[in-house]
């Protein structure tokens, strides 16, 4: 792996921070304020996309800033897996920004400046997190991400929102502290925290405290990735505005937790050590239980966003399951699912938000015949639902297929069965929504009336992207190649 000096990762991280400042400066001119958000989103995606050729060619653009502690630099490095995460988050920020404009203006929400500024800061910390080159930098961006999401959770400022905010903070700050303890232990044992493909703790094999270290990491990232029983904050946080649920609570924040597992298994412990201490079994079993229980819980939710939230909990665990199986194919599948689930789930949330903005309906039981009023939105919903269930040619299929195949390679046939079962459960909680929308007679006659184009177009783009990624997994973004390169590099020499 050749490391090259590049200022691009720093620029990519700083653009959204600058956008947040500009948002605050132009708080009284909404159109200019939103212009900066869009401009920053496009610019950031452009910079990140321009890193793709280098990374595909096997180079790692890297920049090291000042020392943040003696001997530990604040350093950014772009590798294949970081780029997967950054590409998906930054591209989806563009369409989410347009969607936000439609959503926030339709509903006439207050404190929009705080909303846009916090949103930009979330992207700042997400991209910083994706590009962190060592554990301490990682921890710093993790904590910033926790903090700047808080204003978005309490955005409504209703008593329910404030209590959701408290719950969010208690869960996420506790997780963050576990992570800080884990990072401190790592630096103590290894004397370094620089991520290395294949891990840098392998010389500590036999250390009795490795299990403790893993459990601390598990708490830290388990909270963020909503692994059961640490998922409590996520459904509650659905009280935030829908674009927040869509981008942050389906993509950026929660995927940061999953991404944390990817880093810890691949670049801290290393798959060999991770397997030898038996941690993979713990993680795989927890993920499996989460998949089943969250899907069952989703069945009982009448609030559409809450149902989608439980579905998110389950799908995050697909990724965790995929990487904990430690086979090349399953790793590839897990990483691809990180992107696939992002586009699918953001489509579903966008649809839920569009329905809410147009009709103020939140409950599934009140959606009778809504497909006649909003056929385009519900059409996109149907497409994404099919993808999430795992039916080709939508994008959910190929990642599930790879995870399943990897499970068989790893000799974990039970995981294959689990995937089939959860596919059925996915169908069971998503299809009734579609049935109600299209095949149930509405309570009162409905006329065609879609939400603002600012919402409809982004959700159509997200749906189209899901279709595209399903048919061309290695299309323009080269997600498949990035994922399989990562898997090959990390799992090099580990035979599973």
């Amino acid at each position: 792996m050749e490391e090259i000096y590049s200022i691009k990762p720093l620029i990519a991280v700083l653009i959204p921070a600058l956008a947040a400042i500009l948002n605050l400066l132009f708080s009284r001119q909404p159109n200019i304020r939103e212009f900066w958000t869009i401009a920053a989103a496009v610019a950031m995606f452009g910079v990140i996309f321009s890193l793709l050729p280098d990374v595909l060619a096997g180079r790692q653009p890297e920049i090291s800033l000042l020392n943040i502690a003696p001997g530990i630099a604040l350093a950014l490095r772009v590798d294949t897996v970081g780029l997967i995460f950054a590409l998906s988050a930054s591209f989806l920020w563009i369409i989410t920004s347009f969607y936000s404009i439609g959503y926030m203006r339709t509903l006439n929400e207050k404190k929009q400046t705080r909303y846009y500024a916090s949103f930009a800061l979330c992207l700042f910390s997400t991209i910083g997190f994706a590009f962190s080159a060592n554990l301490l930098t990682f921890v710093i961006f993790y904590e910033i991400l926790t903090l700047v999401t808080y204003p978005l959770v309490i955005h409504k400022e209703s008593p329910a929102a404030i209590s959701a905010g408290r719950k969010y903070l208690v869960y996420l700050l506790s997780g963050g502290l576990a992570l800080i303890a884990a990072a401190a232990l790592t630096y103590y044992y290894a004397g370094t925290g620089d991520f290395v493909s294949g891990g840098f703790l392998s010389n500590l094999a036999g250390q009795p405290n490795l299990m403790l270290l893993f459990v601390l990491f598990l708490l830290g990232f388990g909270v963020k990735s909503a692994l059961m029983p640490l998922q409590g904050w996520l459904p509650t946080a659905m009280i935030a505005p829908t674009p927040v649920s869509a981008l942050l609570h389906a993509v950026a924040v929660v995927k940061a937790g999953v991404f944390g597992f990817v880093r810890v298994i691949g670049d801290v412990f290393g798959p060999g050590l991770f397997h030898d201490i038996g941690a993979w079994q713990i993680l795989a079993v927890m993920a499996s239980i989460t998949i089943v229980i969250s899907s069952l819980l989703a069945l009982y939710q009448d609030n559409l966003k809450r149902r989608l939230a439980y579905s998110t909990v389950g799908h995050l665990s697909y990724i965790v399951l995929g990487i904990s199986l430690l086979s090349t194919t399953a790793w590839t599948g897990g990483l691809i699912h990180l992107v696939n689930h992002a586009t699918l789930k953001i489509t579903l949330f966008f649809c839920a938000g569009a329905i809410y903005a147009k009709t103020h309906i939140e409950k599934i039981s009140e959606l009778n015949g809504i497909g006649r009023q909003m056929p385009v939105t519900l059409g996109a919903f149907t497409l994404a639902a099919i993808g999430l269930i795992g039916i080709p040619p939508l994008s959910g299929f190929n990642s599930k297929w790879l995870i399943g195949q990897g499970a068989l390679e790893a000799g974990a046939g039970w995981a294959m069965g689990l995937l089939l079962l959860s596919g059925l459960l996915n169908a069971a909680y998503l299809l009734p929504v579609i049935r109600r929308a299209f095949f149930t007679r509405p309570d009162k006659p409905l006329k065609f009336a879609e939400a603002s184009l600012f919402m409809v177009i982004p959700l159509l783009i997200a749906a189209a992207l899901s279709l595209y990624l399903g048919m061309f997994p290695d299309g323009i973004f080269h997600i498949y190649q990035l994922a399989s390169d990562t898997a090959a590099r990390v799992l090099d020499g580990v035979i599973r």
């Binding site: 502690a69 904590e143 400022e157 408290r166 903070l169 576990a178 401190a184 103590y188």
Partner: protein, 492 residues
């Protein structure tokens, strides 16, 4: 004046300007502030220059009256004392700028003696850190304490009673220290720190030396309000004028911590204080208890100033814990926390004073909606709060990070858990206020609705401190490698 007189200029300039402030203040009241500020600026400049000298050429020493130590009194600027001198004079300078409007509002008829006494207080504190003589430390300690009692007793009608308790406890602390110094003098026949350090290794078996160490450390624990000697602190910080608290709270208790660190690195040596009688371990465990109990009591407060006072008790616990760990990382964490906490607490108390200036309020439940009315002030409060909780990249995270690393190195898992849990407790009482200020519906309270950011001099000094918190976080590695590691080298 020449450059080698720097160690003595730092405190003496303040003493001179104390007299000038009184003199011109009686001629014309409005002259007191500019003269006091000039004195502070001179001392600050001398301290910064002193730190630069130390960094470039190593420790500086000055012999008072030309008498060579150990007979004469020696003033020493090394990495530790220059670091403390810059910290003390900088925070005092900022607090002085801040205090002008707040004094004019809260104690308009007492500003002249207040400024003179504040300078005297700062002179005492910097005197303690630059002197190389144990008895001289006591003299400056008394100067600082007496001036401190006076400035804190001004203000609220309950302030004199609160301060009286502090006088009693503070005097006991000073007596303990003096006893300890007396024992050392008895055993070694000298008061010069370097000289004692040279003579001590032969006397380590002596019970007299052990008694001296115990007396000095307990005396200073009283001065730094370490649990269970903290009872005087909350009332004093609650009732003193805000301009005074913003200077006293960040610095006064830290001077006690400085004396303990000084004893550890330059007089006794770390081995003596941990072998045989586990004095350092006791200090560390008291610190851990202070962290937990201070944080829990802070949660129970509904008065903003009182909450910050209890938080100070917890924060001094981190410093004691770091010193008590008695390894290089722990000492670095403790010294860094002295610095970080000074900035954080000065910032937070200034915000509390600013809120009081504009609204007259200090009850937390009544602060609803303040985030919109006082945007800069509450933004600074947010930064201070984040740092207190220990969320990176704010400075507070890094001192806790080194303390956690040091606890792990010492295999003291209880300390690790205490530091971790205390962050959560801090989050509870700070986010409660942020939630009130930013997310609660406006209360319709007339006092809040008409509020705005305090006058420019107050807002600017608050913002400087808030910016300082973020900058210190980013440059902590520079401070550690250049300033703090040379201090630690003395013991390793």
């Amino acid at each position: 004046m020449t450059i080698d007189q720097l160690p003595v200029i730092i405190p003496v300039s303040l003493l001179i300007f104390t007299c000038l402030t009184l003199l011109f203040g009686f001629l014309r009241k409005s002259l007191a502030f500019p003269i006091a500020l000039t004195g502070m600026a001179v001392s600050l400049a001398a301290s910064i220059l002193g730190l630069v000298q130390v960094l470039l050429y190593g420790p500086q020493s000055y012999q008072l009256g030309g008498w060579a130590p150990p007979i004469g009194i020696e003033y020493v600027l090394d990495h530790l004392s220059a670091f403390m001198a810059v910290l003390i004079t900088f925070i005092s300078f900022i607090s002085l700028i801040y205090s002008r409007h707040s004094f004019a509002r809260e104690v308009p008829d007492k500003v002249v003696p207040l400024y003179a006494l504040l300078l005297l207080l700062v002179a005492g504190m910097v005197g303690i850190v630059v002197t190389g003589d144990l008895f001289n430390v006591f003299v400056f300690l008394e100067i600082a304490s007496l001036a401190g009692y006076a400035v804190m007793a001004i203000g609220h009608e309950k302030a004199p009673v609160a301060t009286f308790r502090y006088i009693i406890i503070g005097t006991i602390g000073a007596c303990f220290y003096l006893l300890g110094v007396g024992f050392l003098y008895f055993a070694t026949g000298t008061l010069n720190m370097a000289d004692i350090a040279r003579l001590l290794p032969d006397l380590y078996e002596s019970r007299l030396i052990l008694a001296a160490a115990v007396f000095i450390v307990i005396g200073m624990a009283l001065k730094m309000a370490l649990f269970p000697f903290h009872i005087w602190l909350p009332d004093v910080y609650t009732y003193a004028p805000s301009g005074v608290v913003s200077l006293v709270a960040p610095l006064m208790t830290k001077v006690g911590a400085y004396v303990i660190i000084r004893m550890l690195v330059s007089v006794f040596g770390p081995g003596f204080l941990s072998e045989g009688f586990p004095l350092m371990a006791v200090l560390g465990w008291l610190g851990a208890a202070a962290i937990v109990i201070g944080s829990i009591l802070a949660i129970a407060q509904s008065d903003l100033r009182r909450m910050l006072a209890y938080s100070s008790i917890a924060q001094i616990g981190y410093v004691a814990l770091g010193i008590g760990l008695n390894n290089p990382l722990g000492l670095i964490g403790a010294m860094l926390h002295i610095l970080n906490h000074a900035f954080m607490k000065a910032c937070l108390f200034q915000v509390a004073g600013g809120i009081r200036y504009r609204t007259g309020l200090w009850q937390i439940p009544m602060l609803a909606g303040l985030g919109r009315k006082m945007p800069w002030t509450m933004a600074a409060f947010t930064i201070g709060a984040i740092s207190m909780v220990g969320i990176p990249p704010a400075a507070g995270f890094f001192s806790k990070w080194y303390l956690v690393l040091s606890s792990i190195e010492a295999h003291n898992w209880v300390f690790v858990i205490v530091i971790i849990i205390s962050s959560l407790l801090n989050a509870v009482y700070f986010f409660r206020i942020l939630e009130k200020a930013y997310a609660s519906p406006e209360s319709g309270n007339e006092l809040v609705n008409t509020a705005s950011d305090p006058p420019a001099s107050m807002t600017v000094s608050i913002m400087v401190l808030a910016a300082g918190i973020l900058i210190l976080g980013l440059i902590n590695a520079i401070i550690i490698t250049n300033v703090l590691q040379p201090v630690v080298k003395l013991i390793s």
